[in-house]
Subunit: 352 residues, 4 copies
Amino acid sequence: MSGNSLGKIFCVTNFGESHGPAIGCIVDGCPPGLALEVADIQVELDRRRPGTSRHVTQRQEPDQVEILSGVFEGKTTGTPIGLLIRNQDARSKDYSNIVDTFRPGHADYTYWKKFDVRDPRGGGRSSARLTAPTVAAGAIAKKWLKAVHGASIRGYMSQLGTIEIPFESWDHVPNNSFFAANASVIETLEQYMDQLRKDGDSIGARIEVVASGVPAGWGEPIYDRLDADIAHAMMGLNAVKGVEIGAGFKSISQRGSEHGDEMTPDGFLGNNAGGVLGGISTGQDVTVSLAIKPTSSIRIERRSINRAGEPVSVQTLGRHDPCVGIRATPIAEALLAIVLMDHALRHRAQCG
Amino acid sequence: MSGNSLGKIFCVTNFGESHGPAIGCIVDGCPPGLALEVADIQVELDRRRPGTSRHVTQRQEPDQVEILSGVFEGKTTGTPIGLLIRNQDARSKDYSNIVDTFRPGHADYTYWKKFDVRDPRGGGRSSARLTAPTVAAGAIAKKWLKAVHGASIRGYMSQLGTIEIPFESWDHVPNNSFFAANASVIETLEQYMDQLRKDGDSIGARIEVVASGVPAGWGEPIYDRLDADIAHAMMGLNAVKGVEIGAGFKSISQRGSEHGDEMTPDGFLGNNAGGVLGGISTGQDVTVSLAIKPTSSIRIERRSINRAGEPVSVQTLGRHDPCVGIRATPIAEALLAIVLMDHALRHRAQCG
Amino acid sequence: MSGNSLGKIFCVTNFGESHGPAIGCIVDGCPPGLALEVADIQVELDRRRPGTSRHVTQRQEPDQVEILSGVFEGKTTGTPIGLLIRNQDARSKDYSNIVDTFRPGHADYTYWKKFDVRDPRGGGRSSARLTAPTVAAGAIAKKWLKAVHGASIRGYMSQLGTIEIPFESWDHVPNNSFFAANASVIETLEQYMDQLRKDGDSIGARIEVVASGVPAGWGEPIYDRLDADIAHAMMGLNAVKGVEIGAGFKSISQRGSEHGDEMTPDGFLGNNAGGVLGGISTGQDVTVSLAIKPTSSIRIERRSINRAGEPVSVQTLGRHDPCVGIRATPIAEALLAIVLMDHALRHRAQCG
Amino acid sequence: MSGNSLGKIFCVTNFGESHGPAIGCIVDGCPPGLALEVADIQVELDRRRPGTSRHVTQRQEPDQVEILSGVFEGKTTGTPIGLLIRNQDARSKDYSNIVDTFRPGHADYTYWKKFDVRDPRGGGRSSARLTAPTVAAGAIAKKWLKAVHGASIRGYMSQLGTIEIPFESWDHVPNNSFFAANASVIETLEQYMDQLRKDGDSIGARIEVVASGVPAGWGEPIYDRLDADIAHAMMGLNAVKGVEIGAGFKSISQRGSEHGDEMTPDGFLGNNAGGVLGGISTGQDVTVSLAIKPTSSIRIERRSINRAGEPVSVQTLGRHDPCVGIRATPIAEALLAIVLMDHALRHRAQCG
């Protein structure tokens, strides 16, 4: 595998570019017999889809998925599931002014250094658009985890820039554009984003993802610990700069007598572990927190260089998310689902 | 691979238990022609070795490594390098009182749930002792990165519990037991640790690791981004609960106009990226920060359960590190070296 | 990877079923900068295509390939190449009479035992139709091997049933339906096949594949020797029951003084090795020979069982190749090309 | 993985050279709870051991294995099993005369071309001695297959040079030096080998391996079919030049009405399939046949070149097997066991 696959037994291989004809993936290793139809996948893609509010990119993509293989008479067959999403609204002309320059904080520079190719069309392969196939594959993993283990994966935004968004209830999450688990803060967030767009700037965010119902015993230490593979998947998501499991960076200043979650016959008394000890699931909620950086594509002028190494001033005018964190929640859920399903199958292989 | 291998082309496969006859690894994929002798590896093992100060476990292990294969007349041959370290000071009797109970915050519970085996001897496979083979393999990667690319990997402790340890100079790091890059704070740290041992408690720490001299272009997006594989390796290290690249969690509250590192003909003007953009190295320092939790094996009594699920009180009396973070610096360096070398070879495969 | 990928660095992941909406693959790990257009792939697909003579299945499939990603302005970008082929002529009704029964010698029985799914539509995933994506991927490997190493891969049929087809010249191969390197035997082969179709029976064949221009040094012993990976790829092709490298089974009765190819300053004096010694290429032609069994789908009535385990009589009336070996030559070439390109890149990773 | 690992879930990683301090392997992915002791492994190593008759190399190696990890209180723990065999009788001086020359038909030339290293000590990594760790790992797989599935793997030599050795009974196999399943032919074989040694020449052989009790449903098409992975493992064994499954090369001249094994309620009526259809096990015996070439290290003088490319005459005087096929039977059994166990676990992962 050359880097574009995620998972060892439940394995997702991703292809496509932002402005090519299509994006998609092959999901290999899904057990046979899982009821699966397009709607199961489409519902998750619609949560991630661009153009759904004024706070995200205005690119219009229906993100309609086609199942090309691996499903027969409404059930998975155990063979690879091919998933295809055609790109519909790729306006390459928007990018004509940046063919020769690099955006500060953007992957266009490093892709050019690596591959010696400059594909300016919407970031090419480095675009966040390539998270759509991940979400599609994650929908299958979510369905399997629910069907076989009763496990569910949910996420929410807990911080937008400097604004913390306290968790109130999962019920709020589907009712706002931010995946906030809190109704009272929405107006503040909307005003904040409106001002940000006027400024032509962007902002970071924090996302929480929680898996409930995961049985104890999943994970392959060492080195493919459950938390290690979660960190790999999450840090592999565009714009993520930090990953925490459980108490995360708070663990630094905790004493052992505070951090270690005591156990009683009724279960654990805390979850500083975030549901993982020694790289193996404990049976508690698996809790993950992500730091997402602000988008590099902004209207504000910035200093950069061109391909000849000469100084230039760069301003990005295409359609972009001013906060990629807003659409990151369903993607992070998908990644967690893929990792968990892969480890469920790996556990089944080794421990029956 | 069943979880005990790290890297795809430069691939380390680890075996052993804390109180078995030996630990070690096979390092596969090292290019031929690298000058290598035992001393190159031993020097790194000695930095990680237990028993070197009163602040770490008093277990006496020389950690003498034997090269079993892959080196002929002082040079690597391109064939697998077998590395063996015999365990010398395994007092299994120390653990007799915990055969049937589980330490809060410890992997003994999850290993039992996964494998249905209870090996109480020093944590068995989950012991931090198993980081020694990683350090040995990392020594080879360090040497290759230096020889072929002039790259170097260094680390230091930047926080112990609530005590921040400001970076002053790399020169200080080898001169104290904490890998602190600061001479003035050592006395404070020593007093803090002495009190902690009296209390029978443990504490967390933060480690920084920096790779300098990494060329631009390493990384395999998506999904095996350079930062993703670093996160995988680091979160796969015992006791790590959080990983940051570059600005890390600070990115959440940064604006794009602040976060994106501007470029000039003389180079980048900042390094919020931590040397990675779009999953590919930029040519700047690769900077990684780790949160390490406090050891779960403490003398303070804690509530737990036994294998029958009944409530018990647990106190751990064996020899343990009161702060596993103290010995984590050379291990984190080794992990970063392994990931970088693997990506160097992967890059060479695909891009020549 | 869950079984549907071939290659480690140059990695082909295959999806699709004979009678689903589409088949295809993702080619990951192709270096950037290779000139590539649809015609490069289509020419190989056309060699394998059904319906091109009366001696193969009469299913009409244009096998028109679409490149979905990984190519920009006529060159590969180093990112995954998505390839899609729509199925056009899938007459599932042909198979209605075999929904509940199993063909002797066919995979429908084992797929059912493995997956507990019965997809009778043209053999589903086990159909030889799934070799089309392999051929498409192989076309890319062929082009790269030629462009970078000047290596070429060619094949021909050397035996059809009991009829041996002596090699005369590569020039004959494209000029007959059998990929025979011999013009004088064609009429005999045609008469043989015509009679076979009348009989409603099928027949086996032997295919030779030769790679010229492969440099010395490719192969990863042990276990991923070049010959081992060739054997894996070839035995993974539908209907193959035997694989030979070089002298193959003749080696059994050879003495060492006869088998070992002597060397002179001008090169080897023989090629019993088939271009591979100790799992590594010698620089000579890599020569591979395949045994292909007769198709299991025949009109002649045979004893079998149904899903209830009851005895039945089975006769297969759909459109089938009476000799799958006839179309196997371009597929075997593609497989050899994929393995060689993968090993070229693996060699480059380890040995620069 | 860089080529020295076999299997994906049950994964054996091999290290060592013929004349280094030790050889061995790590067996990763063995399920916990399997009763395992040194004797289980030693018995298989003793079958492969050199020096046991006058017909094999006279090197004296006890091949005593040490289990370094992964077993606790007589049972596997689910963690990696480290296996170590010290080399005892490495007379490197025997090879001093061939430091600069290459044996016709030997891997010393290709290893030099690949790695640019010349390790003349007993063939270094390319020596058949490296099959000992494979046999050790295979002993574990054999034990697991028997314990969990009641499956057994057995092999025998069916041809030595031009002498065919008809199968009479498994009972004969352990009672002669040739693994012949026939008592009456032994004297002929002994005389043949005695003459061969006098001639200073070597000879090829054919080995049959049979797995009984394998359930239907193992195999991962496409590409990791059960037969493909068997072919990979077998062709990866030193000196193997050909692999057949079931009817093998006889399939070429068979008609479909003859080749396809008919089924009745009582089972299959034949086994041309060799227990594999469409890459998946049928539940019948899995039958494999191997062609093993004559050893390249012979006393007879042969033409070759030296490292400078100049013509030389080469004669090999060290201790060698005049027929490596004689000791190949237990190795081929081990390889088949490893592949089958890996597929058993892979099947369990995907199909429960």
